[in-house]
């Protein structure tokens, strides 16, 4: 049976970000361990922290039951009893200080590895007094011009044991991207030197590894980066930002590019013009999914964080939110969909880390930019309430459409007027971000519900490779009568499966 569907003006319908469906009990609850006592004026030239520890979270690592946290002013704190819901039982102990804007923290045996602007540092407590007494250079070798934006992120360990580091481009006064691997990602070499592996990054502030052990990084919309992407990080590829190509002149460059893609062209056209240029596994469309992606954290909690094991959670700065990403492999490459997941955090979400009990620690700091959160910084903990949310758990590409997998059975009667789809791409250019371009509505000619009610197979006319396919599922209900936590999903269809 074939039907016509007409898409309404995209983007007009309001949608809920919140995990809490209006009529359903909440599936997640949030406990604030700490928020800033200062008001949120974090762009002010005279910004001052609040009382107590300036917990501008920039990195998190678990040491058994304790949580180590790096903060932007250059300290590492160890939090005792982090799982207590009595704030007076939660203890904060200073472990290291005097670091230069650390933005990543990783446990390595008995040590901690922490990023600083000019190096990755190994922190050791050799005399066992609970305070670091050795600050050893674990990796350096990139240019630090003194430009404030030239951050270093990581390290993060992939499934093969490689430690990955990403280097922000410089922007503004003193910026120098001509030398020293700005806009590159790489690993820590045997000689403790940075080993450049891939280029084209702008503001790669988040690293994370999936269950297969593959490394991913997030970038942020800006020059050459039309919207916020999540990329599979690996050697020998170019992610689009041309500022970073200047380091190709370095004799240590691991490869040369066959062609530099031309700016001012639609993204799919640009991608085809250079064999090193790869698309993101997932685009997070601007505004719709937030504006500045940050950390990546895989859910591997055996159901203790809800029905999303194996998926990635993505921190969102400006919207003070957390988004969700489902990935699959088509023709050997990752692609998939993103879904709005949770919002309303008290400050910009910068770091995510799962606790041993399967709850999610959310580290926040606004300073220097701004977010919807009305606090300057803080640390929150999100726990699953065992109340199953009604969500599109997975969105999988098919040769002629998509398969949606739900967390609970769908009410067949609600399918009638539910689905709409449009697709678009972006302009690849040196401009700051891009509008969605070449937007097209797609007819959904068939929507078939599986016998168990858990999946719907959509047949969609005119799928376009390399385009974002935006799905709306308004009005869809579960058999329990619940509405979707988010009726929106955005699938980055790099390849159409055969």
């Amino acid at each position: 049976m074939e039907m016509r569907i007409h898409l309404f003006a995209a983007g007009l319908a309001g949608f809920m970000f919140s995990v809490e469906a209006e009529e359903a009990p909440p599936s997640y609850e949030v406990f604030e361990l700490m928020t800033a006592s200062s008001p949120n004026d974090s762009r002010s030239k005279d910004w001052r922290p609040g009382d107590g520890i300036t917990l501008e979270v920039s990195g998190m690592a678990w040491i058994d039951d304790e949580l180590a946290i790096s903060i932007r002013k250059g300290e590492v704190w160890i939090i005792g009893n982090p799982l207590s819901k009595n704030r007076e039982e939660i203890a904060y102990r200073l472990f290291a200080s005097g670091l230069h804007e650390p933005l990543g923290l990783l446990r390595d045996g008995n040590d901690l590895l922490v990023s600083q602007r000019s190096e990755i540092t190994r922190l050791q407590d050799n005399d066992g007094d609970g305070v670091a007494d050795a600050y050893l250079t674990e990796c350096d070798g990139w240019n630090v011009s003194g430009n404030y934006h030239a951050y270093a992120y990581g390290p993060e360990r992939d499934g093969q044991g490689n430690l990955w580091v990403t280097l922000n481009l410089g922007m503004g006064p003193l910026a120098n991207n001509a030398v020293g691997w700005r806009g590159w990602g790489g690993t820590i070499g045997r000689d403790r030197k940075f080993v450049p592996k891939a280029l084209g990054m702008r503001s790669p502030s988040g690293l994370g590894v999936n269950l297969e052990g593959d490394m991913f990084y997030s970038d942020q919309q800006g020059t050459w980066i039309p919207a916020s992407p999540i990329y599979h990080l690996r050697e020998g590829v170019f992610y689009g930002n041309q500022e970073s190509t200047k380091s190709l002149n370095d004799p240590a460059a691991p490869f040369q590019m066959s062609a530099i893609p031309k700016g001012g062209t639609p993204y799919d056209v640009a991608l085809r013009s250079s064999k090193e240029f790869v698309p993101p596994a997932v685009w997070l469309p601007y505004n719709k999914m937030g504006r500045s992606t940050t950390d990546i954290e895989v859910i591997d909690e055996g159901g203790k964080f809800g029905p999303f094991d194996g998926q990635l959670l993505i921190g969102e700065f400006t919207n003070s939110a957390v988004n969700r990403v489902f990935l699959e492999k088509v023709d050997g490459e990752y692609q998939g969909a993103c879904f709005p997941f949770m919002d309303g955090f008290p400050a910009a979400v910068v770091r995510l880390s799962f606790a041993p009990d399967g709850s999610l620690f959310v580290g926040m700091t606004n300073r220097g930019w701004s977010s919807l959160g009305n606090r300057s910084y803080g640390l929150s903990r999100v726990s699953y309430t065992d109340e199953l949310p009604f969500s599109i758990r997975e969105m999988r590409a098919r040769p002629d459409g998509f398969e949606l997998v739900f967390t609970e059975p769908v009410d067949a009667a609600s399918l009638g007027d539910a689905f709409e789809m449009s697709s678009y791409t972006y302009l690849y250019s040196s401009a700051y971000g891009s509008d969605e371009i070449r937007t097209k509505s797609h007819e959904i000619t068939d929507a078939e519900l599986s016998k168990d009610g858990l999946s719907v197979t959509l047949r969609v006319e005119g799928l376009r490779p390399l385009y974002v396919h935006e799905l709306s599922a308004n009005g869809l209900k579960s058999v329990r009568g619940r509405s979707l936590d988010s009726p929106k999903a955005y699938y980055t269809l790099n390849k159409i499966p055969r």
Partner: protein, 704 residues
């Protein structure tokens, strides 16, 4: 199973219907034009002065000439209306302005005009402008917008929102009766259009009646979200301005003819249409007979729904001897509503209702929250600086503690400045007699060591005051006149009653008799001369204040990595309790410099996004000499006392370089692997003692 899919019905159509349904035109309460300057000062009793304000602000002068206001009233620029204004709202407004916006000063112009002719006028208006694309919606935050709206100065003219709690209030919302009403913004316009208007007010409203506030794009969207009552976040949840239908060229032409006939160009800038010649005022004005002052103005003439008092006032004004000089000062200030914020010669200033909304730094008393008085302002401020102020220059924002912002009037900066400078000129004012030799005494007087303690309250350039944050006095000479400065210092309260500024020369007698022989005139002139000279800072500031994050090593050394001016981007700073400090360069593996005294202020390292380079909090700086072996830096270890040992590598051999401070000397210990003795450089000016023992070298640095 295959499930049939039907077309869904989105929210847009429903919304559009709702909008259309509201556009019903019921003239009624609030029909009379609302002119704040008239309502505040002249509505109790008909007066010629009140009439003069109305004559200016109702646009009478646009057709009749002869307004005494310095800045003539104009209509808004009618550009890009089809992008910015809902067509239905505009039609309602044109038919009856005050029903679309209560108290509008736009007269009814289309009475007696057929509906088809109204359509033609609207078609013509829709054709104006360049169809500039509005900036797409930003993420908007109505809560922040509400805070800005209520603090930035909007309340000088507009009412607080009903649910807003006054910062000083008892929970009661205030509704100033003088407030200029808003239209229903949702019916009139869109979030993007309103934000564009707020960002660039002087383009749309060149006559400054809605003045331009400096704000960034985000602030404009936030305030617009508040005004339009959009509590969501993604602007795409809102509709834009509904598409105007295309119009035939003939219809546009017909509309243009009507607009020309009605002389709309007298008030509004319209391309290719000149305003009609000035219509002389009648010798003896009358309220009857179909003229614009009467209730039944003929078709083709503007019809105002004036109150009886307004009519009488206009009549009195028109019958009076219209001597420009008598009234133009107060008239202009009232017309522009400067009086909403400023007092001048006892007239105006915040009202009982609006006063609580003026907030700022309470440690400065009322001066910390209320805009300054304008009494004698043309004498106080130099012409150039006054013009910059009207133009909205950042340099003229000298009172950062006021939450209320002085808006700008760029189109009229020149005229307003000339007028104020002329009306307030004081040619008889006593000028200062500057003696160059007295400049150093000015420095002493500004300071706290036997001076008049100015810096206890006042900032000085980058230096924050020692106490309350009164305005920066380091460049007063660029703003104010020396004769005003003298008068003010002699009696601050005469200019600003209630000021916290004490009279430091009470009765003209100096409180500091041992400086310049206690000569009041010489003292004041010396302070001015020191400010004007621009060299040096007053006595008594700490070496560098403003930090509040100065690191002071007390029990143990403090180590901090940072960008350091003398050392570079891999500087490791070590501060010792013994007040000798070290910067080590991680990029060369060499010590970079030593300094004595205070360590450094970590504010910029810890809390500034821009990460500026730090510097020593001391002038006693001793760089290490050139030379010395470069090594690869491998980190550092901290011993029990907190002192660092730098770990280095040179040609594959390990080197260590340790530092500690004991009794006023810096002790440095180097060790190396067999055959790897490094060359060593020493800090400038140091007396070096050397002790050697095998592969260990101990150096003791001291300074006289």
């Amino acid at each position: 199973m295959t499930v049939p899919i039907e077309r869904s019905f989105g929210g847009l159509t429903v919304f559009a219907v709702a909008v259309a349904a509201v556009c019903i035109f019921v003239p009624g309460a609030g029909a009379a034009p609302h002119v704040v300057g008239y309502e505040r000062f002249h509505s109790d009793e008909a007066t010629a002065e009140g009439g003069a304000i109305l004559f200016s602000e109702l646009g009478c002068a646009a057709c009749h000439g002869a307004s005494a206001a310095v800045v003539p009233r104009q209509g808004p620029r009618l550009i890009d209306l089809s992008q910015r204004i809902e067509r239905d709202w505009l039609i309602g407004f044109l038919k009856d302005p005050s029903s679309a916006r209560e108290g509008s000063t736009m007269p009814q112009m289309l009475h007696g005009v057929s509906n088809s002719e109204v359509e033609a006028v609207v078609a013509y208006l829709g054709s104006l402008g360049k169809k500039t694309k509005l900036k797409p919606g930003r993420h908007a935050n109505a809560e922040r917008g509400s805070a800005l709206y209520h603090e930035k100065g909007c309340l000088a003219c507009h009412a607080p929102t009903p649910d807003f709690r006054s910062p000083h209030g008892d929970g009661e919302s205030l509704t100033p009766a003088l407030a200029i009403a808003h239209p229903d913004f949702r019916e009139k316009t869109s979030l993007e259009a309103l934000a564009a208007f707020l960002s660039d007010t002087s383009t749309y409203r060149p006559d400054g009646r809605m003045p331009h506030f400096q704000m960034d794009a985000q602030e404009a969207f936030d305030i617009a979200a508040h005004l339009i009552d959009f509590q969501g976040s993604d602007p795409r949840e809102l509709k834009g301005v509904a598409q105007w239908p295309d119009s035939e060229a003939s219809l546009i032409k017909q509309g243009k003819e009507t607009v020309t006939r009605l002389n709309c160009a007298a008030c509004h800038e319209l391309p290719g249409i000149a305003s009609n010649e000035i219509v002389p005022l009648p010798e003896s004005p009358t309220l009857a007979g179909g003229h614009c002052l009467s209730e039944d103005a003929r078709p083709g003439l503007p019809r105002y729904e004036l109150t009886g008092g307004q009519r009488e006032s206009l009549k009195l004004f028109l019958s009076s001897e219209r001597s420009k000089e008598d009234i133009d000062g107060k008239l202009t200030l009232a017309a522009m509503n400067c009086y909403a914020c400023h007092d001048r010669e006892g007239v105006g200033g915040p009202l009982h209702d609006t006063d609580p909304f003026f907030i700022g730094d309470e440690s400065l008393g009322d001066s910390g929250r209320l805009p300054p008085p304008l009494t004698g302002i043309g004498h106080k401020l130099q012409a150039d600086s006054m013009k910059l102020l009207f133009e909205g220059s950042d340099e003229s924002r000298v009172r950062p503690y006021l939450n209320t912002q002085m808006p700008s009037y760029p189109a009229h900066a020149e005229a307003l400045t000339q007028w104020l400078q002329a009306v307030d000129a004081k040619p008889e004012a006593e000028e200062l007699v500057i003696r160059p030799d007295d400049i150093e005494s000015g420095r002493k007087l500004l300071g706290i060591h036997g001076g008049t303690n100015c810096i206890t309250c006042h900032h000085w350039g980058e230096q924050r005051s020692l106490g309350i944050p009164a305005l920066d006095i380091s460049s007063l000479d660029a703003r104010i006149r020396p004769s005003w400065f003298r008068e003010y210092l002699l009696n601050p309260a005469s200019y600003r009653p209630g000021t916290l500024m004490p009279p430091l020369w009470p009765g003209g007698q100096s409180t500091v008799p041992d400086v310049l022989e206690g000569d009041t005139e010489r003292q004041i002139a010396s302070i001015w001369a020191f400010i004007k000279d621009g060299q040096g800072i007053p006595e008594g500031f700490p070496e560098r204040s403003g930090g509040q994050f100065e690191l002071v090593p007390e029990d143990r050394p403090i180590i901090q990595r940072t960008f350091f001016k003398e050392t570079g981007t891999k500087a490791i700073l070590v501060g010792f309790p013994g007040r000798i400090h070290l910067a080590f360069d991680g990029s060369s593996g060499r010590p970079s410099l030593v300094w004595r005294g205070r360590f450094f202020d970590a504010y910029d390292t810890w809390f500034t996004r821009g990460a500026p380079f730090e510097k020593p909090l001391s002038e006693e700086v001793y760089p290490f000499d050139e030379g010395g072996t470069e090594s690869r830096f491998l980190g550092y270890q901290i011993d029990q006392s907190g002192a660092p040992t730098f770990l280095l590598e040179r040609n594959g051999g390990k080197v260590t370089d340790s530092y500690r401070v004991e009794e006023g000397v810096l002790i440095r210990t180097l060790t190396w692997a067999e055959g790897g003795e490094p060359e060593v450089a020493h800090p400038a000016g140091a007396v070096v003692e050397t002790a050697r023992s095998g592969r260990t070298l101990t150096l003791t640095y001291s300074w006289k």
